[in-house]
Symmetry: C2
């Protein structure tokens, strides 16, 4: 039966695609590359590419990110497998099965093009439409997943630099969810969760130029949030 003859079937290509998300200026942004080659030459797409023979999907994801966008050795890159897209016809060239990842970054450097990508740039989430292949869908799935995981995991710290204030952490939630949260209650909930954040001793920072300096925190060892931080839609957003 099937198995031993490596060339018995039309070969499959295996690729990775990355939905790299970050927060810039209080808005969710995604990293896009302009395709330098057919198909979809000139169109914007998620960074990604083919697996090499000795790579896992996770390794390939990091390599492609470095090649196509210049983001190598990024500190605090959170990579998370989303799902695999395998519908026939997703790539006009051949049968391509793509393992998609969601990646989260704190406010990052400017990317540069490279490899198959003629240029790379951060794009506001809302403007990232009409992408190549089925990347619109992958991006939407990534956003859904990240929004949901903020509720019951400590994922939000992956959007923050190594040291951050509770105000910054709260902005992560407010930006991704598009809702305003009550600051006192947010503070208590976060601090009441053991291992979510830990204070950096003797550090304080001014955030908006004015106001009381905020205590600085680091991400703690916890990964899950019990009880969860539920998304309770208040109306609108704050000023």
């Amino acid at each position: 039966m099937h198995g031993y003859d490596k060339y018995a079937f039309e070969p499959f290509a295996v690729t990775v695609d990355l939905a790299v998300l970050t927060l810039r200026a209080g808005a969710l942004h995604v990293l896009l590359v302009e395709r330098g080659q057919e198909p979809y030459a000139g169109r914007w797409a998620l960074p990604g590419g083919f697996l090499l023979p000795e790579e896992s999907a996770e390794t390939a994801a990091r390599r492609e990110l470095a090649e196509e966008t210049g983001l190598a050795d990024v500190t605090g890159l959170h990579l998370e497998q989303l799902r695999t897209y395998s519908e026939p016809g997703r790539d006009p060239r051949m049968r391509v099965v793509s393992v998609a990842f969601a990646a989260l970054l704190p406010d990052p450097p400017e990317p540069r093009g490279g490899g198959d990508a003629s240029q790379a740039r951060w794009t506001p989430y809302e403007e990232a439409v009409d992408l190549a292949f089925d990347h619109d869908r992958i991006l939407a799935d990534a956003r859904d997943r990240v929004g949901a995981k903020l509720e019951y995991t400590c994922l939000a710290t992956a959007f923050c630099p190594p040291e951050f204030t509770l105000g910054e952490l709260q902005q992560v939630y407010e930006t991704v969810w598009g809702t305003a949260l009550d600051r006192p209650n947010f503070r208590r909930k976060v601090l009441a969760t053991p291992g979510f954040v830990e204070p950096v001793p003797g550090a304080a920072r001014l955030t908006g130029g004015r106001g009381k300096p905020a205590t600085v925190y680091r991400a703690g060892p916890a990964t899950a949030l019990h009880p969860p931080l539920l998304r309770t839609p208040r109306e609108g957003r704050p000023a």
Copy 2:
């Protein structure tokens, strides 16, 4: 660069693996097949196999399930992508990337072997160890995922036949989580979630031979659970 030459790289094989879970006699069981061929001939494994050229992973999963275990056209089969396992060396023959699925079934028929599988059988979850390839890990991941999704989705009905009582639904939670739940409170929580279950008009059924006949319910249209049904460990299990 890469892309157009289909044979430029060592080809990848793409497979699917299925962790098919069900409840039998109040215990979690998983569907295993005995491998008829090398590698791992004679060892137990999750059902699965190679993608055909014109199949999506979901289609292949259903086909392999039918071929290897005789479970074709199973009513109420819930298929859900888990993640993709792509580490080099997971299969000694060649480079195999496997898309893993978790599948949930109500109390199902006996399987039979077929295809690559010399036999197939339901195995209590605890006894499903030392599986072929990395299937121990896939199975553990499936169980974790299912346990977590019971909390905030309506997934539990996928373990129940089309019509079920609230007692049966509660047993799903108690079996998967290994905790006892308070019946009155469980009942209210489930009924308070719009679209989780809907009563079947004028139907009632005796469950244990004795006792008051229970109202019969169907799964409703809802998929998410707001608020979630949190796993609050009470000690021990009931009689």
